[in-house]
Amino acid sequence: MRRSERPLLSLPRPLLFAFLLLLGLQALHHHFDQRSLETRYRPLGQPFSAAVYRGLAMGSEQLFGYLLAIRLQLHDNQVGRHFRYQLIDYDLLVDWLDQISGVSDGTEYPMLLASRVYTATGDHAQLRRILEFIERRFDDDPQLHWRRLAEASVIAKHKLGDLDMALGMARKLARQPASVVMPQWARDFEFLLLAELNEVESAIAIIQAMLQSGSVRDPDELRFLQSKLSEFQQKLFESQQSSQN
């Protein structure tokens, strides 16, 4: 059996008025509370130099580096809530990440925080700053950081919309010597991005060079490269045809 309801307007007027008043009060309170909460955000302090942290570590540099990274990771959680990344000073953040990288050599943690956590910001200037950090620190240990640079390249393309930056990173990945072991797809980024930038001729040249060098031996990868080569040659042919017409 369905219970019928009385129309809202048939309720006593003082009750309706009180309800609307309290709803407004609650909304206002929430609004001002949010704003006052942001003023309670405690910004990042200036980090000490890596040498000082190494001294303070009392011989446990690696552990100390990780603990510093975890402390940094928790910075956006204050007064029992999570603060927006836009509130963080990314120049200081990058300084912290640099110092932590200096404390514990060979750790992936600061780069991981940069590529997985701090790229979640919606601010393009901050995003660019953190991607530049990843690109710079990649040179410290390409073998350890190739995944982070590959992620950064994808983020630069899709989130930042900066194809040139993405291409620069992809080129860095592609130019790594064979001694840096990484899957072929990481090296393929360069020609894929070139094709997107309508630099099909350069993309074709790179694929042809890869096929001729004999560095690619995996049959699936060879098939992929050949299909891309055919696709780009077709694209180039079509664009030449349309320009002639």
Binding site: G55, Q62, Y66, L67, Y109
Partner: protein
């Protein structure tokens, strides 16, 4: 003579072993496990290594303090209860008391590192557990012997603990202090006082344990030759421990006990 020393060691050891010590050890282990679990929740990658290293270091500093306090309190009690005067009426040489105390320290440290061996082996694997237990035993021996020297000389627990901890921290933070002094020389354009301080600290470094005397926590993250690392530490600690025992003997033989 050996029998007398062993009898004295047994007597001193019974004074140290208590239910309170085991309860404290159990509380420390529980705290280490809980804190390690909390850290593990926060890590994004490499959680197992971070937690093992954290638990190892947590236990290192807690047990160093516990061993130091235990040794210092036991010897201080001997002073307060005029135990030395009684012992010296017996056919015992002073060196035998020091030898018995050294044996007590070795056994106490062994007792303290056994649970650490189990805990670190559980979190970080048997090889790391065995290395850490051995290295921690050497480190605890070192700080306990420092504590023995301090309490024999200063006779008061707070002073002795403060002195031993100061030496321990000075050794641990020597890298940072050297860096600060070098920076101070640079900022003062090589002033004489800064240079003198740097020289004095450089001289102090010769009589405090070096970094190689302590358990190396970085082995939890790097592939290191554990045996070679342990052998280096064993050599450093052996030399320094003998030096501390020699100083303790000199100090103890110089003491006058009134009957």
């Amino acid at each position: 003579m050996t029998y007398q020393t062993i009898a004295l060691f047994r007597y001193l050891m019974l004074g140290i072993i208590s239910r309170r010590l085991f309860v404290l050890l159990a509380v420390l282990l529980l705290a280490a496990v809980l804190a390690g679990g909390f850290i593990h929740e926060l890590t994004i990658i490499n959680g197992a290594a971070i937690v093992s290293a954290f638990i190892a270091d947590f236990m290192r500093y807690c047990l160093a303090l516990l061993a130091l306090l235990t040794v210092a309190s036991a010897v201080a009690e001997d002073y307060e209860s005029r135990q030395f005067e009684r012992l010296l009426t017996m056919p015992l040489a002073r060196w035998q008391y020091i030898a018995a105390q050294a044996l007590v320290i070795a056994c106490l440290c062994l007792l303290l590192v056994v649970p650490v061996l189990l805990l670190v082996s559980f979190y970080g694997g048997v090889a790391l557990g065995v290395y850490w237990a051995g290295a921690l035993w050497l480190e605890l021996m070192l700080i306990s012997l420092l504590g023995l020297l301090a309490i024999l000389s200063l006779e008061k627990v707070p002073l002795a603990v403060f002195f031993a901890l100061a030496i321990y921290l000075l050794a641990k933070l020597s890298g940072l202090i050297t860096l600060m002094l070098a920076e101070s020389v640079r900022l003062s354009d090589g002033s004489a006082s800064s240079r003198a301080l740097e020289l004095i600290f450089g001289a102090i470094l010769y009589v405090i344990p070096d970094n190689g005397s302590f358990a190396q926590n970085n082995v939890f993250f790097e592939s290191a030759d554990l045996l070679a690392t342990f052998a280096d530490q064993l050599l450093s600690v052996s030399i320094y421990a003998l030096f501390l025992l020699a100083v303790s003997l000199v100090d103890f033989y110089r003491k006058e006990f009134s009957f």
